[in-house]
């Protein structure tokens, strides 16, 4: 069930009431309710997926327990690799089997051989890319002795299947989320209100901005050969905001819901489109995934230490894997490759950590230099997103070629004034709220209640009034 659906609007209050009124006195029961609610939530998509998540949970719980008692280094490694193979095996099969088969056939036909291997009609389980990485973080951290393995199966199941972040993240670390299931949760008014505010903002981003931008992004991308270069630029910009608001909106809702239940999840986006370089962008975009790759792949490979060729190799590996994580499609791999090319010069010239603080901190406006850097970074990002959105590589290339033609200077054929105005208002709100966890995290906290309520009502009314045609969350396909 989608967060912005009637089904979820009925599901959430029921779970909330049961959680805080029926099972609140017993920690185990609270965790059990989380498990049952999460399995119900996940099973609503497709009940067949439940077996997979349950199996993954049992395997990693068992391996975690075994790692607790096993001291032999080789045997510990075998246990770790068992977890990795099982989790990545499932992910590989469901997500990448057809991709590899199709490319295998293409490669063979290139050499003049025809082989016949049937691709399978595989249904991709929703959220598999997210929860497999989440459980892997558990076994890896237990192996490294960063985390004490749990003997509480219910708590561990709740950690793996926690419904707010199950299908599209944030990808939580066991070191952050699992301990929260050991502690009794008492209702915290401030946390719950913060959660409700974040849910509201997430819904605004998703329903008003993402869904409205999606309408025009889809129109332009699906008919790209009919439009001028200037329209194609707009299409790419619409997609840029669609994917940001869709994904970060979902994360805001997930984090907000978790707060209603007394949990703190990690921040997943930190205003990435205000970045001054690509290194900063990747520190602010989908932070749960990028830090996962940093900690579990990049650093074990050597990270940015060692010789230049190692830095280059590691950077390419990370970004290509990141691209591949998004989907079994050459588009995503090229998108990853582009980002690697953007990032490498910063790393090699040792300027990848120049911009750590948020842009124009404690100031209202950025400097001209900062504006220039932001625009360049934004432009590079928009360019890369074209590969992400296009049907295939050929479509992306045609899109870019048509975009950069002489018709770039023509008046755009598609120019939705209302959507563009909404985007402008949104960017301004994000700009002035960029020092908080999310744009309105600190807004109105010191105002009198009627004024604060007025702000909430304005957001709710604009959600209803400006609601775009309902679109599925983009990251559900990953």
């Amino acid at each position: 069930m989608l967060f912005n659906s009637i089904d979820f609007a009925l599901f959430l209050p029921v779970v909330f009431i049961l959680y805080w009124f029926v099972v609140n006195k017993n920690l185990r029961l609270q965790n059990l309710l989380i498990v049952l609610a999460s399995y119900f939530f996940y099973g609503w998509w497709d009940w067949r997926f439940l077996a997979l998540i349950l199996f993954s949970t049992i395997v990693d719980f068992t391996i975690g327990k075994a790692l607790k008692t096993e001291e032999n280094h080789k045997k510990r490694k075998v246990l770790l690799w068992t977890s990795i193979i099982v989790n990545l095996g499932f992910l590989g099969f469901f997500k990448y089997y057809n991709f590899f088969i199709d490319n295998f056939i293409t490669a063979f036909s290139f050499f003049g051989s025809e082989i016949k291997v049937d691709s399978l009609n595989i249904v991709l389980p929703v959220g598999i890319s997210f929860y497999t990485f989440q459980t892997l973080s558990y076994t890896i951290d237990v192996y490294k002795r960063k985390l004490e393995p749990t003997t509480d199966f219910i708590a561990f199941s709740a950690f793996v299947s926690f419904f707010p972040q199950l299908v599209a993240g944030p990808i939580e670390r066991a070191t952050n989320l699992l301990p929260q299931f050991y502690k009794e949760r008492k209702f915290d008014y401030t946390l719950a209100v913060a959660g409700a505010r974040q849910i509201l903002w997430g819904l605004f981003k998703k329903i008003v901005i993402a869904d409205n931008c999606a309408e025009y992004a889809n129109l332009i991308f699906n008919n790209s050969s009919d439009y001028s270069g200037s329209t194609l630029v707009l299409g790419a910009i619409f997609f840029t905001f669609q994917i940001y608001c869709d994904f970060s909106g979902y994360s805001d809702i997930a984090i907000g819901i978790s707060r209603l239940f007394g949990f703190n999840l990690m921040q997943n986006f930190a205003f990435p489109y205000f970045s001054r370089d690509m290194a900063e962008f990747w520190r602010r975009w989908h932070m749960s995934l990028s830090t996962w790759f940093r900690d579990y792949l990049y650093i074990p490979l050597g990270g940015s230490r060692g010789r230049a060729w190692m830095k280059v190799r590691n950077t390419f590996i990370i970004f290509l894997v990141s691209g591949f994580w998004h989907g079994a499609n050459w588009n995503f791999i090229i998108w990853g490759l582009l980002n690697a090319l953007y990032f490498l010069p910063l790393l090699l010239f040792n300027v990848n950590r120049n911009n750590i603080d948020i842009i124009a901190k404690n100031k209202y406006l950025p400097s001209f230099k900062e504006i220039g850097l932001m625009l360049i970074t934004f432009g590079l990002t928009v360019f890369a997103w074209i590969f992400f959105r296009a049907e295939n590589v050929s479509h992306a290339i045609h899109y870019i070629t048509d975009m950069l033609s002489s018709s770039l200077l023509n008046k755009p054929k598609v120019f939705p004034k209302v959507t563009l105005l909404l985007l402008l208002v949104f960017v301004l709100i994000e700009w002035f709220g960029r020092e908080g966890q999310y744009a309105i995290s600190d807004l109105g906290l010191k105002w009198k209640r009627p004024l604060r309520y007025g702000m909430y009502y304005a957001i709710i009314i604009s959600i209803i009034w400006f609601a775009g045609k309902e679109q599925e969350f983009i990251y559900f396909q990953f």
């Binding site: 008014y189 719950a192 309520y453 009502y457 009314i461 209803i464 009034w465």
Partner: protein, 290 residues
């Protein structure tokens, strides 16, 4: 927790109260709103009559047709318009696609339902429509948007008007036929609901002593020959049955096949085509009177 629930409740009540108040005010406005028509000849139906019949040429006529309008909506509209005005003659669009099952999908189809609900919320009689799927979620969303925010003076979104252009584009006849007679590749049948409401319109005209003329404007041959045979056959049967009834006149020019330049697309006339058809229609109505 109590503080959170109490404040949440108050917050929700204020919002619900705001929407409810606007809804009630707007409900009284649209229930009592009249549609004033000074003309004696009314043209109703879907895009075929909307584009095909120019009321200025017919004289003392008004065209209230709207794109995609199925007969059940036309019936609700006409009930209101006949009640509020004195109409002598009704020209109603009557073509093969008007009796196709696709019309039954217009209150649940993603492409159409939002637009339909926006037009019909002041008139709807959903309780009479038992054989049609209705997307109530979408309906209530539209109702909230149309009536929940502020008191509106005008709720008449169901009064159409003549509209046309001089362009011609005869590409994609197959796609046009598929949109009207097929759903996800499957051929649709006859809509019994459309037939029932066509009968209801007939009865309504009889009750209000309105002369009913069923009219079908010319379509392009590339479209005509792709119309599924069962629907075309049923249409011909109905046409014959209506022709025998004194209270109904049928003017079927579906396969009249004008020159290409008179079409807007494969099943609609353009401005020039509408002018010619309206003149011919006027002549035919005059001859019948005599």
């Amino acid at each position: 927790m109590k503080k959170f629930l109490f404040r949440g409740f108050v917050f929700a009540i204020i919002l619900i109260g705001f929407f409810s108040l606007n809804f009630v005010i707007n409900f009284f406005i649209y229930k009592n709103q009249k549609v004033y028509i000074k003309e004696k000849l009314l043209i109703a139906g879907d895009s075929h009559s909307k584009r095909g019949i120019n009321p200025k040429i017919l004289g003392n006529a008004v065209n209230v047709s709207q794109q995609g309008e199925p007969y059940y909506i036309t019936f609700w509209k006409l009930k209101k318009m006949f009640k509020d005005n004195k109409i002598d003659t009704l020209i109603l669009s009557f073509a093969p696609h008007n009796i196709a099952e696709f019309n039954d999908l217009k209150l649940s189809n993603e492409r159409w339902s939002g637009e339909m609900f926006k037009r019909i919320y002041p008139l709807q009689e959903f309780n009479e429509l038992s054989d049609i799927d209705i997307d109530y979620v979408e309906y209530y969303k539209v109702l909230l948007k149309e009536t929940g925010f502020y008191p509106k003076r005008n709720h008449i979104n169901y009064r159409g008007e003549y509209f046309n252009s001089k362009k011609t584009n005869l590409l994609a006849p197959k796609e046009s036929v598929e949109k009207q007679f097929y759903d996800s590749g499957e051929q649709l049948g006859i809509s019994t609901v459309s037939l029932q409401y066509l009968d209801s319109i007939l009865f309504l005209c009889k009750t209000y002593k309105v002369k009913l003329i069923l009219v079908s404007s010319p379509v392009h041959s590339s479209y005509f020959y792709l119309i599924p045979k069962p629907i075309l056959d049923k249409y011909k049967t109905l046409k014959k049955a209506f022709a025998k009834r004194n209270e109904v006149k049928v003017i079927d020019k579906t396969n009249l096949f004008y020159p290409d330049s008179l079409y807007f697309d494969v099943h609609h006339l353009n401005e020039l085509g509408a002018t010619r058809f309206s003149i011919e229609l006027k002549e035919e109505l005059k001859n019948n009177k005599n």
